[in-house]
């Protein structure tokens, strides 16, 4: 079996303790929660942190609640908890769709929302889902022993593949999703097999006015090289258009055009670009149906 190289380890129980340990151990220390991305990388010795700070017992980061008109999700929330949350389902059905196809039930028991976002895999489903619903993340750090916190839009969170704006010594603590009643949201993914990373995936959240005109829309894309996991051009096109198949088809075409996938064993570029469009249409269609209360 592959095994990691040696490292130091400490278990933190609070955010402030975590930040202290991060500053004490320096930039080669890593925070570990579910560990389902980090530990395999450490086994391959592609990741070699000198120290791990275990935040599994930082219970203050484990919650899902509504506050200030936002859905607030603690970074330590497990995928399984997000999947099972009635509160989340009440506001955004996209998350149950997405969580059902993230890894497998046992990995979801362990993997965390914050960990997935910070891993920043270009095929990460939650990044696309959160991008679709205009989420922000809260990042905490400490400077000269003083805790400070900043909020970053998810669409500004990713710097590149496996890279985010979270700096050494900082900790992602929360995800915030503005609650906007009256909309519908959905997530759709093509995978080679259950539990695999997406070949391509699309999430959509849509709000329409009484006339059926799109008043607000978010489209998130995973695994197709969309900038910040978002189909911004397709979103811009749709606002003000009727929520019809024709509009969705054009939005899909735009999303495909602006995607920038790379070929790998999941598929060639033309296929992935095609899927970016096809899945955008399907996600919009499902989200719009839900907004109209037409789909279970």
């Amino acid at each position: 079996m592959q095994v990691p190289a040696a490292f130091e380890y400490a278990k933190a129980t609070t955010v402030s303790q975590t930040l202290e340990l991060l500053s004490q151990w320096g930039e080669d220390a890593r925070v570990i929660a579910g560990g389902h991305s980090l530990i395999p990388m450490m086994k391959l010795r592609l990741a070699r942190p000198t120290a791990l700070i275990d935040i599994n017992d930082v219970s203050e980061l484990s919650y899902i609640r509504v506050e200030g008109g936002e859905l607030r999700i603690g970074a330590l929330t497990r995928h399984a908890e997000l999947l099972d949350s009635a509160l989340v389902e009440e506001h955004y059905r996209i998350f149950r769709d997405a969580e059902r196809v993230i890894a497998d039930p046992i990995v979801r028991n362990r993997g965390t929302v914050g960990g997935s976002l910070c891993q920043a895999d270009p095929a990460e489903d939650l990044s696309a889902a959160f991008a679709a619903v205009d989420a922000s993340v809260v990042i905490q750090g400490a400077q000269n022993g003083v805790q400070r916190s900043r909020t970053v839009k998810l669409t500004e969170f990713h710097v590149g593949p496996y890279e985010t704006v979270v700096e050494a010594g900082e900790l992602l603590t929360e995800v915030r999703v503005p609650i906007r009643p009256g909309g519908g949201s959905a997530y759709t993914k093509v995978e080679r097999r259950v539990g695999d990373w997406a070949v391509a995936a699309a999430g959509a959240a849509i709000w329409t006015d009484a006339a059926g005109t799109v008043s607000n829309v978010g489209i998130g894309l995973a695994a197709v090289g969309a900038e910040h996991f978002r189909a911004a051009e397709a979103e811009a096109y749709l606002v003000g258009k009727p929520a019809t198949e024709e509009s969705f088809a054009e939005a899909g075409r735009i999303a495909a055009e602006h995607s920038n996938p790379v070929a790998d064993q999941r598929g060639p570029v033309d296929y992935k670009r095609h899927l970016a469009g096809e899945l955008t249409v399907r996600a919009l269609r499902a989200a719009a149906a839900r907004a109209r209360g037409q789909e279970a």
Binding site: M1, V3, H36
Partner: protein
């Protein structure tokens, strides 16, 4: 570092390296070889154990992360009055062949039935979808879990009647 882990209700204190994987702690430190390992990437699920009552893949958990926690393995399934209904179900319905995935499958099944005593075939398939089996084509595993559900329900009905 020193850790204390409660495994199948029994407390064990050991001095371990932080990098020791939970599966190795169970197998090599405690001699509980019923928990197997099959991949390094948390894909196969043969290393599944419960951590504070929830199934996890022990090849991707550090032993130190289990410090102060409760771990359940296949060796803890049998009850004072005999095999757990899940274990019986696997025997009754030929839910195993080589036996390598079986401990993990049974632990997931136990957790599923604790949450959902009457799971549908689809719910069982979803629950075990993170665990591979190369021998059974899953059919008889599903039947085994259904057998356990039905016999547990029957046993409960008998107690209350």
């Amino acid at each position: 570092m020193q850790i204390t882990v409660t495994v199948n209700g029994e407390s064990h204190t050991r001095d371990v390296e932080p990098r020791l994987l939970l599966v190795h702690f169970l197998r090599n430190e405690l001699g509980l070889t019923g928990t197997h390992w099959g991949c390094d990437t948390s894909n196969c699920g043969v290393c599944t154990v419960t951590l504070d009552g929830v199934p996890v893949k022990s090849c991707t958990v550090l032993a130190v992360m289990a410090d102060g926690k409760q771990v359940g393995t296949v060796e803890g399934l049998e009850r004072a009055d005999g095999l757990d209904p899940v274990q019986q179900g696997f025997v009754q319905c030929h839910g195993l062949q080589c036996g390598f995935c079986t401990p993990g499958m049974m632990l997931t099944a136990r957790c599923l039935l604790d949450k959902n005593p009457d799971p549908s075939e689809q719910e069982i398939r979803e629950a075990i979808s993170g665990q591979l089996c190369r021998c059974t084509g899953y059919e008889n595993i599903v039947r085994s879990v259904r057998w356990a559900a039905e016999h547990e329900a029957a046993a409960k009905a008998e107690v209350t009647s």
